[in-house]
């Protein structure tokens, strides 16, 4: 059986990739994908612990996260389309009107 640490290291690596992607990239679709990667990293951690301790609630939590992620993707992509129609760009640094 694969030890728990491997799962956690993989999850941490995935999360770090998501965070780095979020900070490095400017395309808003990429940013959404980075967020999804981070969510899945968390999911992986949940499942790993659930399997390790033999407690089902971690897996149930994953379902909730998946549902929320699906909803978030739907809303997020709709926002992206609306934003593109408005600004004709996907660069988030150009969408900086909401500030002091």
């Amino acid at each position: 059986m694969i030890p728990l640490n491997w799962y956690l290291i993989l999850a941490a690596a995935l999360f770090l990739i998501g965070v780095l992607g979020f900070f490095v990239k400017r395309n808003i679709i990429t940013l959404l994908l980075s967020v999804e990667i981070m969510l899945n990293a968390v999911n992986l951690t949940f499942v790993a612990f659930s399997s390790q301790h033999g407690i089902i609630s971690g897996q149930i939590f994953v379902f909730f996260v998946l549902v929320v992620a699906a909803a978030e993707a739907a809303v997020g992509l709709a926002l992206v389309i609306a934003m593109f129609r408005n600004r004709e760009t996907l660069n988030v640094d150009r969408s900086n009107l909401l500030k002091w």
Partner: protein, 628 residues
């Protein structure tokens, strides 16, 4: 029909009128407003007569008739009903209030006909009738206080009826504020009554009070304190020294209001309250002496001011203050029934005089200055005749209402145990003053030659029938009212009977002499030697100036009470407490938040990734916090 079952409708009918006129008045025609206004009062009047007659047919043991409609307040041991009480006293009062009130409503339809606030006027007037009837019918002190405050409110609204005039709104405010002082006394008295007797119900309080010993003169026990506090309330509402100052200013209101509220009904509420609380006052001779002294002082004080006033309504206003003083003098002498008798006759002749003055003002196109009148006898014959009757009645000419009640007051004061002779002398001098200023008013208004120019008054005209008929009815009341045996009817146990018939005749002769000498002096000064008043005024300039300035009481009150209050409010409460403390606290909170936000807002850069960095930093911080 059992009228007693309809007792509740007596106050409520005018309330309906007030609601209808007040809410729909702008859409109704003037005829309908008048019909609703006067009609609801007429209904109350009819019901009052019915209830009164029915009450007379009941045996003495069945009185008073008490109807408790519902429990109004129940809190711990405190209990107050919403209930009405009908006995001889309140029966007489509702007859006076609804009867005179009805006539004045009729009169108002003529007097106020061209006023744009016609519907508002009748709504207020009906609301007043409701409050006044609640006051006199209430069966406990708390409900009485509701009526007491209600009439005060309506008085304020009606004094300031022409609110476009600053003097009118000022007068309204003055009346309201001065009355607050008195009402405070009433509230304290009610609380004290409850803490002494564990009830505010008239029946229970008086029952318990009759068992208490009489507190001797000079001892200030619970009952004396209660009575004195109640009398403070009475001085406010009934315009006695030191709270009378609002009543002369209240003449800014329309004349029917002066007649109804500030002469016939509301201002007599204090007298009614004392007569109602006779059982308490009987136990407190000290309080009675105070009532008598204040009444006598007010009577002669106001009468002396009335001697030199030149505004027709101001003369009548000071006369009202003076006559109210008379009523309190009677109550203070223990002759409550005589005080109420004078209340009734005064309601007739003073309402008559005010309405007559209103008719004169109406005919003169708004002029109130006596110096610009004269010779109106021929132009306004019916106003003159009725006014003449009213003058004779108030002056105490034998055969008319005022003579009987005034004579009875003087007789009962004469035989009262404490300082009776002194108070009697003060009352007698006041009677002379009264006679003088009333005949002066009559002569200056209706006799002699016209002193107005054609430019000032275009055509002096007699008033319409709607105004003259009430005058006629009230004139009849002023003649016949004195022949009713009101004191006997009310049946208070008065401390009379010590004087023989010869003393009574002597007293009667004295008051007739006082009345006639007032008439004679007025005739001498204003008819046979018209140059004398000016020479007198010049001769006794200091005295004359004090009188025309009303003893400078308003100025003294301004300097002693109003000015310090205003200055303290302005300089301390406004400029320090409000501006510096309260505004300062609020503004500095705003300033702290505003300036900190001015720095923090730079976090809102608009770049998504900056926000993400803050979130990341926050997450890292939290994790570090939990792992530490």
């Amino acid at each position: 029909m059992d009228f007693l079952n309809w007792l509740w409708l007596i106050p409520l009918a005018p309330l309906f009128g007030a609601i209808i006129n007040g809410s729909l008045g702008t859409r109704l025609s003037r005829t309908w407003i008048g019909v609703i206004g006067a009609g609801t009062v007429a209904l109350s009047f009819v019901l009052s007569i019915g209830a009164f007659v029915q009450m007379l047919h009941m045996p003495e043991s069945a009185l008073p008739i008490v109807h408790n409609y519902f429990v109004w307040i129940q809190a711990g041991s405190f209990h107050a009903n919403f209930g009405f009480l009908l006995d001889h006293l309140s029966g007489l009062m509702i007859l006076i209030v609804t009867g005179v009130g009805f006539l004045i409503h009729i009169y108002s339809t003529g007097y106020m006909h061209d006023d744009p606030g016609f519907y508002r006027f009748f709504a207020y007037l009906n609301l007043f009738m409701f409050s006044m009837l609640t006051l006199v019918l209430a069966n406990n002190y708390l409900l009485m206080f509701v009526g007491w405050e209600g009439v005060g409110l309506c008085s304020y609204l009606l004094i300031g009826f022409w609110f476009g005039k600053k003097s009118a709104t000022d007068a309204g405010k003055k009346a309201f504020i001065v009355n607050r002082v008195g009402d405070f006394g009433f509230i304290l008295a009610t609380m004290w009554i409850f803490s002494t007797f564990q009830s505010v119900d008239f029946g229970q309080v008086f029952e318990a009070a009759r068992k208490l010993p009489v507190e001797p003169l000079g001892m200030i026990g619970a009952v004396t304190s209660i009575c004195l506090l109640m009398f403070v309330g009475a001085t406010g509402k009934s315009a006695q020294i030191p709270l009378y100052v609002w009543l002369p200013d209240a003449m800014e209101g329309p004349t029917p209001v002066s007649a109804l509220i500030h002469a016939a009904t509301m201002v007599t509420a204090g007298v009614y309250m004392i007569a109602r609380s006779a059982a308490l006052f009987d136990r407190a001779p000290g309080a009675l002496l105070v009532v008598a002294c204040v009444g006598a002082a007010t009577a002669i004080f106001a009468a002396s001011v009335g001697l030199v006033q030149t505004d027709i309504k101001k003369v009548l206003a000071y006369s009202t203050v003076s006559q109210l003083g008379y009523m309190f003098l009677a109550c203070g002498a223990g002759a409550y029934a005589v005080g109420v008798f004078h209340l009734m006759t005064h309601a007739f002749f003073k309402a008559l005089l005010f309405l007559g003055a209103g008719s004169v003002i109406h005919g003169m196109g708004g002029i109130q200055d006596l110096r610009k009148m004269g010779g109106l006898r021929h132009k306004m014959p019916w106003t003159f005749r009725t006014f003449f009757v009213g003058t004779l009645a108030i002056a105490g000419i034998p055969g008319l209402a005022g003579f009987f009640s005034k004579d009875m007051i003087l007789a009962s004061v004469w035989s009262s145990p404490n300082y009776g002779r002194v108070l009697w002398a003060v009352g007698l001098i006041t009677a002379g003053f009264t006679s003088f200023y009333m005949f002066r008013l009559l002569i200056l208004t209706f006799f002699g030659n016209a002193r107005y120019t054609h430019d000032e008054v275009h055509h002096v005209h007699e008033s319409p029938a709607s105004m003259l008929i009430p005058l006629g009815v009230l004139a009849l009341g002023s003649i016949l009212g004195g022949y009713l045996n009101v004191p006997g009817f009310l049946g208070f146990a008065t401390a009379e009977g010590g004087e023989g018939a010869s003393t009574e005749h002597m007293l009667m002769a004295a008051s007739i002499v006082a009345a006639l000498s007032g008439l004679a002096v007025a005739w001498l000064l204003y008819v046979s030697r018209p140059e004398l008043p000016a020479r007198l005024a010049a001769g006794a300039e200091a005295m004359y100036s004090i009188l025309t300035h009303k003893y400078y009481i308003d100025e003294i009150y301004d300097a002693v009470i109003v000015w310090p209050l205003l200055q303290a409010s302005r300089e301390f409460l406004w400029k320090f407490v409000d501006v510096i403390v309260i505004d300062g606290a609020v503004n500095s909170v705003g300033f702290v938040i505003g300036s900190s936000a001015r720095g923090l807002r730079h976090m809102q850069s608009g770049f998504v990734r900056t926000y993400a960095a803050w979130i990341l930093a926050g997450g890292v911080f939290l994790i570090a916090w939990f792992l530490r």
